[in-house]
Every structure is written in C-alpha cells, then in structure tokens.
Amino acid sequence: MARLLLIEDDAETAGEVLADLRERGHVVGWAETAPDGAARMRAATWDALILDRMLPGGDGLGLLQALRREGDRTPALVLSALGTVDERIRGLRAGGDDYLTKPFVLAELAARIEALLRRPADTRETILRVGSLELDLIAGTGRRGTRDLALLPRELKLLEYLMRRPGQVVTRALLFEEVWNYRFTPKSNLIDVHLGRLRRKLEAEGEPPLIHSTRGVGFTLMPDD
C-alpha cells in the first residue's frame, strides 16, 4: 500500500495504469499537466512519482529537475516513448530513479514501482537468509538446509538479488539490468534459462520450490517455511 502520483496526459494510458496500480492496492493520484503535477507534488507527500516525459504545459524532465532542486527526493520513474540510450541517460540525470520506454507491460511498471518503493536498505549483512536458504556473500557460498550449493559467480549475484527481495516480483528486464548490468531487452527465454539453472540447483528432487514464475511477468523468491 503506497501513495503514488501519476503525471500522464494520455487519458487512456493513465486509465489503464491507474486501474492496474489501484488493483494492486495502491492509492494513486493523477495529474494531467506538468503545472498540475507540480502543484500536487507540493501539496502532499507521495511515496513514488510516475511521470511522462512529454506533458502539456511543460517537459516532464523539467518538472522533475525543479522538484529535485527544491529538495524533493521522492523516487521517480520516467515514462517515455523515446528509448535511445541518450534519452535514458538524460532522464536519469534529471533525477529519475528509473526509466521505462513505452509501450510497456503493466506488470513491468508495477514491478518497477515495487522495486523503487522497497529498495533494500544498504545493509552490512554478509549472510542472507530466506527460509532454508542461506547465502554467504564473503565466502561466496550458498546452502539450502545442510546441502551445499555449487554456484557460479553469476548465479551467486542472481540469488543475492532475489534474496534481498523475498516475496517481491522481479521482472526479466529488472534482473538483466541489475544482475547483468546491461540495459536492453534480451530475448525473454535467455533470462528464463539462467533462472531455470539456478532453480535446478536450489530445488533438488523432493524439495519445495523457492523461485516461483509469474506468467508473462517475472519471478518471485518465496520463503519455504
């Protein structure tokens, strides 16, 4: 449950986004223009901001820059039809925390908002535990119960990312960006193949599943206890 503000001038898109996010239990406000959005940002506190780049009455990035200058640190996700590397960099430089290119899948937007809201605190923990799963970041070893897991370096990073977000849906694009550290849309089955490998190592015969797929969206690591 979070308070989100959507600044988007296209009523159709806004309607779909509002309905989807509200269904997921968020309280979502909607502003159609940049000045309106600025006014609503200043009038109340929001947990996250979703804003379109091209807005009537002003550029979305300009609005974001103005807010950041005023000291507003609300996590912001920039939506844009412009997908080039340059545009993305510009969006992030203007103070955006994430950037999503239109057209997007609603579940992807929801997952990214979730990721912004639940950004894991920069903990000093070096041993992560989720259910029967344990990951030693210093030794680079993982165990499920008493069974040692032979993990490759990339699998370690993947598991770490998932274990820091138990119960949260992470999309393929997010995984690719955060774990592989590259930004583009790879063929979806590649990430699936990597997760499949990890899953086979985590879930030996007879053990309850840990990584759950959400069809068409992504994956969730659920504690098994």
Partner: protein, 477 residues
C-alpha cells in the same frame, strides 16, 4: 536562342570570337607599323644618298637634280638647286622648304612647298645640303607612298576583320550548340528524374571528358538514391507484411473466441495468445524504431571507454546455458591486454548478443560457436564463428539489410532485424562489420573497432617516467 545566349558556353564562344578579332587587330597594327617604318627608312636613305651625291659634285649638281626629278614617272620626285641668293637654278621646287636643316638628313616637312608655281598641299620627305659656294641642293620625295601603305593596310584589315568575326562567331556558335545539345539530353534526363522517374540515367558519352565524368558521377549518385529508396520501400513493405500476419491471426482468434468460447479458461487462453502475438508485433516495431534511432543518433553522452574483453566474456557467459541446452559448444577466446575502445557498452553487448544468438540458433546440435577478441594492428576484432550452414557468397553484404532473411534461414523463426541492428550499432560507433565464411565451416561475423588509446599507450611505453605506464592496458576482467 535566348537560352543559348544565357548559356555559359555561348558566352564563352562570344568571348573567344572577340578575342580573336582583337588578336587580328594587333597583328595588323604590328605589320603596318613595321612596313611603314621600313618604307620610311628606305626613302630617307635614298634621299640622303642622292643629296650627298649631288653635293659631292657641285658642277654636275644641277644636272643631277634634274635627272632625279625627271626619272620619276609619277611626279612624286622633287628637287632643286638654289643659289646663295635663294634663286632656283634647276629642279621643280620653287624655293627651299622653310625650316629644313641643310645637314643632308631626310626630314618630313610640311606642305608649304611651291612647285612650278603652285603650292603643294601635301607632306614631303626632303633632304638639303649646302654647297661650298653657298648654294643649296634639295632632294625630296612625296609621302603618299607611305600613306598608301596605311590606307591599304586599313582596307585589308577591314576586309579581313569581317570574315574573322563571322568565322569565329560561327565557330563559337557551333561549339556552344554542340555543348548545348549534350546538355539538352542531360537536362531532359534530369527533368524526368525530378518528375519521379528514378530509373532514368544521364547519357554518358565516349569521350571520357569532364562532362562525361560528371554525368557518370551523377548516375552513380542516382543509383545510390534509388537503392536507398528501394530499401526504404522494401522495409516499409516488410513491416506492413510482417505486422499483418500476427494481426490477422489475432483478429481471427478474437472473432472465434467471441463466438465460440464457453468458459473463462478459454477466454483467458485466447487473451494470452493474443498478448503473445501483440508482443511479437510490438517487438518488431520497437526493433525497427530502435534501428532508426541508432542510425540517426550521433556519437554522444553514452560513449565511454569499453573493455571489449569483458563484454565478450559476459556475452559468452550469458548465452552459455542456452547453447548447452541445444548441445552447442560455446567458447570464448579472448586475447589479453587489449586497451579499451570508445563506445556504448549496452549497445555493444546488444550487437554481440545478436551475433551470438544467431550463431547459436543456426548451429545444429553437436556444433560449436566461438566468440573471439583479438588484436589486429591498431584495431580490436570481435568475431563470432559457427559451424552452421554458413552464408551464400552473394548474401554476405545483404544480411545486414533490414528484413533480409538468408536463404538458409527461412525455416528458422526471426524477423530479419537482428543483423540490421548490429550494422546500425557498428555504424554509430564507426566500427566496421563483415560477414564471411568461417574457417570452422559455418559463418563468421567480425566487428573491427579502433583501439581507444593505442597511441597514448605507445607514448606511455616509450616514456617509462610516465606515472602510469601500463595501467591503461591492464586487463580488468
């Protein structure tokens, strides 16, 4: 004709005609001047000799003067022997011409000379010499002859000038007309091209002159424009065609589901299938737009030193599981110690991903794919070799065109955009990309990138005092 007068060629022809007339004038003037001078000198010499001969023999002077006057048939010789009192003793001159120096030199004197009682209104050349007894001998000659040379010369000039002018004018017109005819054919062809007939080409003559070379170059430019337009058209057609297929399927599925589906599960299945088809079309549209964006992009903020070794290793690692699932051996062969290249790491990863993805896709189970990074002089070469069916020789350039599906790839799913994207990314970076036959039996794709600080590194090696002599080349991964 007005067109002709406006044309540069006609103006040149006219200019040349005027120039030749000017040259003719100058030649005539020179010839006239030389001839007149020669005649004048000749006459003066005759007069000098004659007056001296008469003076040398005072006794026979009178007879000599008479002979001088008489030997002339045209009455152009004059002369006289005058006593110390000025009275004439012989000859046809009534008096010594005034102002004539008696030094034996020939002078041109005014016509104030009286001959046989009447005044001669003309100019004469005369020489006078005083004799010992105080008398004076004068020998003179009419200047008409020299004047006639001038008249003749002018007349000849006048007569010659008209044909010169006419002939050079005609020649100029002929030349202009010829150039005009060549231009007219070119203009007609250009006009047709402007009307949209891009298949037209300019006529190219067999002279190989500047004109033909220009026409040849214009034709090559038109070839390129036609090729590009054709490509745009075929891309448009391909997009429309490739969009229609999933949309048609989607439409049919929706219609059938509306009429026949009886359960929520059936509706859900139809919607899932529909979403998959829409995603497929969106992916294609996005790919086309991305290629366009990358092609029209400029080198920009996203560029930074990129360690190709890391990119190559990570791409290989990324595709390793899927290759293994397909029983294809994927290896990375990375030469150590290469300096970075300037580029966009995400785009380079994407380009190499597309190459490796293709290689894995087209390599049959049991085959191998090798991703390599090697130095070649001042360049880094990133290569992907496979043991798949390879490319036909004629396809090697075409594979990078959008929507091109290689002959041997028709049975494999794909939209023909992957290599187009590779080509666009390479072009954005100023890298070259080539397709060739692989020594491993299949296809080989190679991206050649100039190394970033090759020059800087060499300088650093040459000067060991440099605080960071070898760090630039230090392998990070």
């Amino acid at each position: 004709m007005t067109d002709l007068m406006r044309s540069t060629t006609a103006r040149w022809a006219l200019g040349i005609a005027l120039w030749s007339v000017l040259l003719a004038l100058a030649t005539f003037a020179f010839v006239y001047w030389q001839t007149a001078a020669f005649l004048r000198e000749e006459l003066a010499e005759t007069l000098r000799l004659e007056v001296r001969a008469a003076a040398a023999d005072p006794a026979g002077a009178a007879a000599r003067v008479d002979t001088w006057v008489a030997m002339d048939l045209h009455a152009t010789h004059y002369g006289g022997l005058f006593g110390p009192d000025g009275g004439r003793r012989s000859g046809n001159l009534d008096a010594v011409p005034p102002d004539l120096a008696r030094d034996g030199e020939a002078y041109r004197v005014g016509a104030r000379v009286d001959i046989a009682g009447h005044r001669l209104d003309d100019e004469i050349w005369a020489a006078a010499l005083a004799l010992a007894d105080g008398s004076t001998v004068v020998v003179a000659h009419d200047a008409d002859e020299i004047d006639r040379v001038r008249t003749r010369s002018l007349r000849a000039l006048g007569l010659g000038l008209v044909p010169t002018l006419v002939l050079s004018g005609l020649g100029g017109l002929l030349l202009a007309g010829r150039a005009r005819r060549r231009l007219a054919a070119t203009e007609a062809a250009v006009a047709q091209v402007m009307r949209g007939d891009l298949g037209r080409r300019l006529p190219v003559g067999r002279h190989g002159d500047e004109f033909d070379r220009l026409a040849g170059n214009v034709n090559r430019m038109l070839d390129e424009i036609e090729r590009l337009l054709g490509e745009v058209r075929s891309v448009g057609d391909a997009v429309a065609h490739d969009l229609r297929t999933p949309l048609t399927r989607l439409r049919a599925r929706l219609e059938r589901t509306r009429d026949h589906a009886g359960s929520v599960a059936e509706f859900r299945a139809a919607i899932d299938q529909g979403l998959a088809w829409i995603d497929q079309t969106l992916a294609m549209v996005t790919a086309v737009l991305r290629i366009g964006e990358i092609e029209h992009g400029r080198r920009s903020a996203g560029f930074a030193p990129v360690d190709l070794a890391q990119v190559v290793r990570e791409v290989a690692e990324f595709f390793e599981p899927i290759a293994e699932d397909k029983a294809v051996l994927l290896r990375a062969a990375v030469e150590a110690g290469l300096p970075p290249v300037d580029g966009d790491r995400d785009l380079l990863f994407e380009a190499l991903s597309n190459l490796v993805e293709n290689a894995v896709k087209f390599t049959p189970p049991g085959g191998a794919v090798r991703v390599g990074l090697a130095r070649s002089g001042m360049h880094a070469v990133v290569s992907v070799d496979d043991t798949g069916p390879g490319l036909l020789p004629g396809e090697r350039d075409q594979v990078f065109r959008r929507f091109y599906r290689a002959e041997r790839a028709r049975q494999t799913p794909g939209n023909g955009l992957g290599l187009g994207l590779v080509a666009a990314i390479a072009a954005l970076h100023g890298f070259s990309v080539e397709a060739e036959a692989s020594a491993e039996g299949g296809a080989r794709f190679a991206i050649t990138a100039p190394l970033r600080d090759e020059a800087a590194r060499r300088r650093a090696q040459a000067e060991p005092a440099d605080p960071m002599p070898s760090r630039a080349a230090g392998p990070e991964a």
